[in-house]
Amino acid sequence: MKTIKASGIGKPIDRIEGRLKVTGMAKYATEFPVENKVYAQAVNSTIAKGEIVSIDTSEAEKAAGVLAVLTHKNAEKLKAFEEEMPELGTTTIAPVLQSNKVHYYGEYVGLVVAETFEQATYAAKLVKVKYKEETPDIHLDKSRAKAYKPTESSDFSRGDMDAGMAAADQTLEATYNTPIEHHHPMELHAVIASWNNGKVLAYTSQQMVDNSTIVISDTFQIPKKDVRVVAAFVGGGFGSKLNTDRHVILALMASKKLGKPVQLTVTRNQMFTNTGMRQHNEQNMRIGAKKDGTLTALSHETLSHTSTFQEYQEPCGNVSKMLYKVPNNLIKHRLIPLNFQTPCSMRAPGEATGSFALESAMDEMAWKLKMDPIDFRIKNDTQIDLSEERPFSSRLLIECLRIGAEKFGWKERKMEPRTNTNGNWLIGYGVSAASREAPYKKTSSKVIISLEEGKAIATIQMDATDIGTGSYTIIAQTASEYLGIPTEDVTVELGDSNYPVTPGSGGSWGAASYCNGARAACENAIAELKRKKNIPEGEEIALADLLKQNDLTKFEAEGTAEPSEEFEKYSVFSFGANFSEVWVDKDTGMSRIKRMVNVGSAGKILNPKTAYGQIIGGLTMGVGMALTEQTKIEPNFGNFITRSFADYHAPVNLDMANVEVIFLPEEDKIANKMGVKGIGELGITSVAASIANAIFNATGKRMRDLPITPEKLIMAKLEPGVES
């Protein structure tokens, strides 16, 4: 089937939709030309817990251009949760304005709709809400007694932790904190919602289109087939657009009421309270090891918070049950309901935060053992996933570490902190290991092939999204590969719920699922065309000829791919290693990343250019996690004092440095037929640890609370045993 192969999979081609993006023509949610649209602005609660006593909307209603004001008093009844503290999933309903109760600061309490954006935003300020305030629970520390074991428990144990600790020559117990973080994709969450004769059309910025239709249909109790969701381009998501949040429902309610399309954009300030977050995790680690570095015990206990009405748990401890060979192992996770919004998945949920704790603790232990941290990790490598008692489909972690060490020049690292300096700079090297589950989910697609001037051209359709991940491009490459036509002759149409169903973009399953889905449709098309003409399966024939032999100018086929039974017998993960060189100013405490090396073993790389993008993106967010990002809680009122993009420090260009990425040649055919594994989240995993470890190596200060800001570094004490 390789008759013509201009650019199939594996080639670093430019993004096929790139031209639209560099000319400003790619259309994001609120950019579709919808006639007669009006503008909405949401109103947020200004207390963290209590009840609305009264809402005065009269002034807002009188303001110029205002068409409607929605509050819990006049909002239509929506589907309500059937149980208490339901788990938050990506198809969870999103009822809003259903009662006078306030559960967190910033909860939606109203919506103003007006003719123009200026009118709506102004009038929203005129809505006057009176509350009866109650004392909110906002402190993880003060509410420890309320910690509970989540319904879907992620607790795990093997062996005997105490015995393992007792058998150790060297032990470590340390607590690591990761703060509340926010995804903050550059495109604000937004929607143009039309409710027309019972039919819904929503142009909205979502990662999972099909799930979005489910949320809308379930919340409004209308048939799913009457809901169409379009997300042709998504300006970043990082997990925050997995869920269909309440603004989508608000806009639809308003559209239904007014009979006009309603545009609603969540403001950057509202994105702190209304579109999820990564919660604060307090992770307690205990490690025991023999003198020679053999691990005897490892426990990872996490305390974090969920909202008071929904449960979300970030599985921080998962990484500690599978990454190393340790006979005695304990994983626990407890949640405290606090008066904040429900957290949700943020890039590499579990791994990004969990690996910070684990890989910092491993570094601490290596230092205690006076062992090289790479040797220490290699010593405890395992080819068996001990938590599932099954082999990894493929695990090249040792290769990642060794090849990375070579590239990075790890040899030059000084074991003793504070011994590598340059003027006012303290220089440190850090390493960490990374692992990220590589799931793969059932995915369908459709291929439409036609003959144009004797040439075969193809269109692939699926409801997949491209949130910057390169989906458009790798799907086109896949179709090119399996149809044997140049990528230029493939059109890819995504992000529309009218197309065949995919799992959407999340959890690093996108690339593997989408491409295998596209492959299945292409293979079906070819097989069927051959079958009709009794052409043997193995025979090579150009697609155009195949159409001609069939006397067809157009042909359509669908296909679905899903994990094999074989898949279930293995643990399927991507692995990686991060190396960082960090320079810390000895006086100001400001850190600069000087260079990073990332090695990834993530199956077949479909397009190294877009894969590289995913990796550097992950690294950048990892740098933010390590050095700059945090959302702080106001201790008396329970709002986020970090309330704008000027307060929440996402990394800027100068925060980044040279990055070298090495992909290991790996085709994991157990993972899926194409041998593709996820890479979008591997990039961020354990980055923060490699930086914190480098900062220890530079300064002799062990930074266990992220982010590592100048004020923290200046006040931190040297770790016992480090010479000043």
């Binding site: 430019d14 550059m186 403001t267 290769e399 269109t459 149409e493 990796i615 950048t620 800027v652």
Partner: protein, 266 residues
């Protein structure tokens, strides 16, 4: 004719209006690939993709005439906005920012709203050749100024060198910060020519024109455009290619069989 019939007609005949032709120019599609493209687009996707490419009033590199806002406004101001070399006269609410005028009144949605408070750079446009934030600029204050947006950078279907370099170096992922990054880069080329300094410039007293910016200089000067996808390294390389003909490309590699062999667990 219904929208669908118009579309099908176009598909068959490749009959394009002037504005549509411009779209294709921007997309870099020539005559035959145009027809192929039109065929390649399916009927079901019409409303999504046609909307993306086709409503003539949407494609407004030449700020096409949109129906004027019929809504009664308080504090209405009349402004002649000169955008991408064509003048558009608008009646606006005095509160309207340049950003909202572009996006909501002129359908020039290439300029993005990432924060609306001057904190991200997504809304960067060129005002009289200088990069500025359209979210903190009142449209009313733009009378008589020359505004260039992302839609106005390509000429006759030929992308600006910076646009090309972004494509080639993969200087973006989701694409949302991209128009701002590109406008910022275009302005930075000129700032370097004029010899402007930055905070990381070693000696401010040394004034030279036609600077060749170091990587650190580029990073500092591009720090006003946040890319949450983290495409910074590729953005720097894209800029360098145009600025200093540095042809360094993204630095990935595949491990060799030899490396793999040496690294095997013994």
């Amino acid at each position: 004719m219904t929208e669908m019939e118009v579309w099908n007609n176009k598909r068959e005949l490749g009959n394009l209006s002037e504005d549509e032709r411009k779209i294709f120019d921007q997309l870099g599609l020539n005559e035959s690939s145009r027809r192929k493209f039109l065929k390649g687009i399916s009927a079901t996707s019409l409303s999504v993709w046609a909307a993306t490419y086709f409503p003539p009033e949407v494609f407004a590199s030449a700020a096409a005439a949109l129906p004027d806002n019929p809504i009664k406004l308080v504090n209405e101001v009349k402004v002649n906005l000169r955008i991408n070399e064509s003048v558009k006269s608008l009646n606006l609410d005095s509160r309207t920012t340049l950003l909202d005028a572009l996006r909501e009144r002129l359908a020039l949605t290439g300029t993005k709203k990432g924060c609306d408070h001057g904190q991200c750079g997504a809304c960067t446009v060129l005002v009289d050749g200088k990069r500025k934030l359209s979210c903190l600029t009142l449209a009313a204050s733009c009378e008589g100024k020359e505004i260039t947006t992302i839609e106005g950078l390509a000429e006759n279907g030929e992308l600006h060198a910076i646009q090309k370099a972004f494509l080639e170096h993969d200087g973006f992922q989701c694409g949302y910060c991209t128009p701002g990054q590109i406008c910022s880069s275009v302005a930075l080329l000129e700032e370097a020519k004029r010899g402007e300094a930055s905070y990381v410039t070693d000696d401010l007293r040394e004034i030279t024109k036609d600077l060749t910016l170091s990587e650190e200089e580029i990073r500092e000067r591009m720090s006003g455009n946040i890319c949450r996808c983290g495409a910074y390294n590729n953005i720097v390389q894209a800029f360098k290619e145009v600025h200093s003909s540095d042809d360094e490309m993204p630095t990935w590699e595949f491990a060799t069989p030899e490396q793999m062999e040496n690294a095997k667990s013994s």
